[in-house]
């Protein structure tokens, strides 16, 4: 298979990026990912099992994550592949550049106002 560039996988949907963010800290199984995403967004993004595994299926097919044995035999755990890490980084950079752009055009102040 020809080497793919991480940029080709962009942009990621927000839930997908959240899943990659969680996995960037290490191996996780599904439930842990859901919990982390929920905590990180203070309940703003709550993945259902169906949504989560739909995302995982696509990440597996795209070679962004890989499956690893989990402690609980019923479960499966997942780990970022180097390519997945590149994609996640590229997406973060893309988001960052968008934020910088937003600052330049004074959509955002130097400090974030409490909402």
């Amino acid at each position: 298979m020809p080497r793919r560039r991480p940029e080709d996988a962009l942009p990621l949907s927000p839930p997908m990026f959240h899943v990659l963010l969680s996995l960037s800290k290490g191996e996780r199984h599904g439930y842990l990912i859901m919990k982390e995403v929920e905590d990180r967004t203070a309940g703003g993004v709550r993945l259902s099992t169906g949504t989560l595994y739909g995302i995982i299926r696509r990440l597996l097919d795209g070679g962004l994550v890989t499956e690893v044995p989990a402690a609980d035999p019923r479960r499966r755990a997942y780990r970022l592949t180097p390519f997945g890490r590149d994609v996640a980084r590229a997406e973060a950079e893309r988001l960052e550049s968008l934020v910088v752009e937003a600052r330049h055009s004074r959509l955002l102040g130097a400090r974030r106002r409490p909402s």
Binding site: H29, G50, T51, R57, D72, R75, R76
Partner: protein, 869 residues
């Protein structure tokens, strides 16, 4: 297992089985954790969890199904790309199957299926007057009858019409027009609106009314560039000035597709008396009135009128005919031909199905391990079926596209073969319905093709397959048997098709070769019409004819010249009732009719019909001469068996006019080329003058080369006379056979396609088998088998399968051809020539198809083959 878990598992079915297999357990475990957490937070949290979970299922489940289909399709394309030759051949096979059914449908659609372009067309009927004593329908009605029917309560109006030809003159481009003579209410009865201007007004179909004309859309565009300024313009039609008042919409076709202009009749009792049945009638049934009621009411009106006219009440009857059947002259032929064409096309599609199925099976066998693993992991037959179907989606799309292109090309050809005058709705071409048929046919073919491999593997014992290594599995006996069965099916269907094609060709060939009873070589024919204002005077017509013949006969290169009102084998016929003077008065069913043809002197010589008794018409049979007739052998034999008809008297027509038979001629065909002899009575043209006539000349040289000189001769008599349908007699006969030839060509094409499909199928299968047996072949050759032995073995295995298909196919062909003989007059049952021909063609094709892959197999180095596999 909790109640929640049970429900969760039920809802998981929204996902594809593969997805459930991969993630189902994890999802259940995760959901279990979520559920425990929510349970601690109360019912509200539990409800929110379920809502979120189900929402996710409904969103993601269908998406996963789609993603899987896309993956299957990509896999199909990849597998297809790996064997470009096989894939292209399969796509072509399927495309040919699609082409057959789509183009056959398009033809049938235009002629038989598309709704007539009239309002509530199912309430329209063609009304025929019948003659009860002869049991014959005249296809025409008398004006007094039509006028009386209009009062019936069970119909919403009745209109009369007929098609004829008139000359458009008055400017520098005179031309002959197909015209529709109609009553003023025709457009109302048909429920159509003019596109421009107005239709006819009540009373415009009576003598003395201003003469008006309505143009067809096509004629308006062609002749007047589509300008609205044509309204109000005066045009000379049949040497009578008419004012153009309207233009019909492009969809309006009536009564034949080439009708360019509609003119009202000039109806009154003098011109259209009770005895003259010259009008065709179309009636619209009143809402709620049944055909039976309407028929009964019209019949009683007809009876009442008959009593008024002193005719024996009950002689004249009424019959209804569906309007579409009545408008298409070749309707009977189409009703026979259409099912044959469609059935043959369906057979082709079936062959294509078997072929695609065989290729799919081959592909599946090549990755039997993967498929078996999937089956072992719980992929259902349904899932496999879907996978195979979607895998072939690319094939189907290519086949539809190619099939539509081929259909269009074929239809353009068909269009040229089918006479323009045959009534059809819309063009013979591809519309959305035809495209739908193409898509449906391809989808159905792929579904049938995907069925067999799915069945085969859904049933396989996965463990057994897994124990074997890939190549061993593909060579398994059962798999090969399935392949062979498919191939035998293809051969069976192809044999049947080819044999049917031979029968159809045999019929057409037989008709083309059959003797019409006249000499069709070296005769030129052309048509002319005397202007309407001359029609009243029989003397003028006769004088004109005499001058015309004089000029024509004086031409160098003209051996004989004559006039006739109806050319033989040209779909023109008039029947006249007859009786022998010694016969008792006719009662029900005893009155008989005969074909009547009006001819000038020298007609029989010009046509090459022999005078066997008595004499030809001559100067004695002019306007003032005694009423004379010539009968053909068949008619003479019917009238006075075993005795000479010459000098005997005959009563002709409803008024029983006495004529004397002056001669007998040999039998010649007039209406059909097959079937029983046709009795014909010939009348001298001066005694029965006709406005419409054909000039025919015989020459020792090339008849077509004489056309200019003959036209000049006619123009010396009348400088403005348009001449049309300038054809050799041979061409007339060939035109007559157009529908049969079109049918024969179609069947031949379908037979050839069947043969081609079989060849591709056989080649594909043997290539696969040889591929699978490469190792065995290598071993054999390493052990000393010669190349020839190996090739013979492979070809023999192909021929064995072909032979089985051949035997079955001949059985099927016997059934099909016996059906054909019932439908096609002149078809011979199981013609030995057809059988030998199709068998030989098939064996030859099968031999070549088997030889090619075999040769390829023995070309490689045996040791290499063994090492590779």
């Amino acid at each position: 297992m909790t109640r929640h878990d049970r429900w969760y598992r039920r809802f998981l079915r929204l996902f594809p089985a593969d997805f459930r297999g991969d993630f189902g357990d994890s999802m259940r475990a995760d959901f279990d954790d979520e559920r425990r957490l929510a349970a601690g937070r109360g019912w509200g949290a539990m409800l929110r969890l379920w809502a979120r979970t189900l929402g996710g299922f409904l969103r993601v489940g269908p998406r996963e199904h789609l993603a899987q289909c896309a993956a299957d399709a990509r896999l199909g394309l990849r597998l297809g790309a790996r064997q470009p030759g096989t894939t292209a051949a399969t796509a072509l096979v399927l495309a040919l199957g699609v082409t057959g059914i789509t183009s056959s449908f398009a033809v049938v659609d235009a002629f038989l299926l598309r709704p007539l372009p009239f309002a509530d067309a199912d309430r329209l009927v063609h009304v025929w007057s019948t003659d009860r004593p002869t049991g014959q329908t005249s296809l025409r009605s008398a004006w007094p009858d039509v006028e009386a029917w209009a009062g019936a309560r069970s119909i919403d109006g009745v209109a009369a019409f007929n098609y004829t030809e008139e000359d458009l003159t008055g400017d520098d481009r005179p031309e002959r027009l197909n015209t529709g003579r109609v009553t003023a209410n025709l457009f109302d009865v048909l429920g159509v609106q003019v596109a421009l201007g107005r239709g006819f007004r009540p009373g415009e179909d009576r003598p003395g009314a201003p003469r008006v004309a309505v143009l067809s859309h096509g004629f308006w565009q062609r002749r007047y560039g589509g300008t609205p300024a044509v309204l109000g313009r005066a045009v000379s039609i049949g040497n009578v000035p008419h004012t153009v008042v309207g233009v019909m919409p492009p969809t309006f076709v009536f009564p034949i597709p080439t009708t360019a202009v509609w003119l009202p009749y000039e109806l009154d009792a003098d011109r259209y008396p009770y005895d003259r049945q010259a009008l065709q009638a179309v009636a619209r049934l009143a809402p709620g009135a049944s055909r039976a009621t309407a028929l009964q009411e019209l019949a009683s009106i007809t009876d009442a009128l008959a009593r008024d006219h002193g005719a024996a009440a009950g002689d004249r009857g009424v019959a209804f005919e569906p309007l579409r059947n009545a408008l298409n002259f070749a309707d009977e032929g189409f009703r026979v031909g259409a099912p044959i064409l469609l059935a043959a096309s369906a057979l082709i599609l079936l062959v294509a199905c078997a072929n695609v199925s065989s290729v799919l099976l081959g592909r599946v066998l090549a990755r039997a391990r993967e498929v078996s693993v999937r089956a072992a992991m719980g992929a259902s037959r349904l899932r496999l079926f879907r996978q195979f179907m979607v895998e072939s989606a690319g094939l189907a799309v290519a086949a539809i596209a190619l099939g539509l292109v081929l259909s269009q090309a074929w239809l353009v050809r068909m269009q040229q073969m089918i006479p323009l005058e045959l009534f059809r709705v819309g063009d013979i071409g591809l519309d959305w319905r035809a495209v739908l048929v193409a898509v449906g046919a391809a989808a159905m073919a792929v579904a049938i093709a995907a069925f067999l491999p799915a069945l085969r593997f859904g049933r396989a014992n996965p463990a057994a397959v897994l124990r074997q290594e890939g190549t061993a599995a593909t060579g398994s006996r059962r798999a090969l048997r399935a392949q062979h069965a498919l191939l035998a099916t293809q051969v069976t269907l192809s044999v049947a098709l080819v044999a049917s094609a031979f029968v159809a060709l045999d019929v057409v060939g037989g008709l083309s070769r059959s003797d019409p009873g006249f000499d069709r070589e070296r005769v030129l024919t052309m048509k002319f019409i005397l202007g309407e204002e001359r029609a009243a005077a029989g003397d003028e017509i006769a004088a004109f004819h005499a001058r015309l013949l004089e000029e024509a006969r004086a031409l160098p290169g003209v051996q004989a010249a004559a006039l006739v009102n109806h050319l033989p084998l040209n779909h023109e016929v008039a029947q006249i009732v007859y009786a022998r003077p010694e016969d008792p008065p006719a009662t029900d069913g005893t009155r008989r009719s005969v074909i009547e043809v009006a001819v000038s002197a020298e007609y029989f010589e010009t046509m090459g019909i022999g005078v066997t008794d008595g004499r030809d018409f001559d100067a004695r049979d002019g306007r003032s001469g005694a009423a004379a007739a010539v009968v053909n052998r068949a008619f003479g034999e019917r009238l006075w068996p075993g005795r000479s008809p010459v000098g005997r008297e005959l009563a002709l027509g409803a008024d029983g006019r006495r004529v004397t038979v002056v001669g007998v001629v040999s039998d010649a065909r007039h209406w059909t080329l097959s079937g029983e002899d046709e009795p014909i009575v010939y009348r001298p043209l001066p005694q029965v003058p006709r406005r419409h006539a054909r000039l025919i000349v015989r020459t020792p040289g090339d008849p077509a080369g004489l056309a200019d000189a003959v036209q000049q001769a006619v123009w010396r008599v009348d400088r403005t006379m348009p001449l049309t349908e300038i054809r050799t007699l041979d061409q007339v006969v060939r035109d007559f056979l157009l529908p049969q030839r079109a049918m024969g060509t179609s069947m031949a094409a379908l037979g050839a396609v069947g043969l081609l499909l079989m060849a591709i199928g056989l080649y594909g299968l043997l290539a696969l088998v040889v591929g699978q047996r490469r190792r065995e072949i290598g071993v054999r050759m390493a052990l000393g088998a010669s190349k020839g032995e190996v090739v013979r073995a492979v070809v023999a295995s192909g021929l064995r399968v072909t032979a089985i298909g051949l035997v079955l196919g001949l059985g099927l062909a016997a059934i099909l051809t016996s059906l054909l003989t019932g439908l096609l007059p002149g078809a011979r049952l199981l013609d030995p020539f057809a059988l030998a021909g199709s068998t030989a063609a098939l064996l030859l094709v099968a031999g070549v198809s088997a030889y090619l892959p075999a040769r390829r197999a023995v070309r490689v180095d045996p040791m290499q083959t063994i090492r590779d596999t």
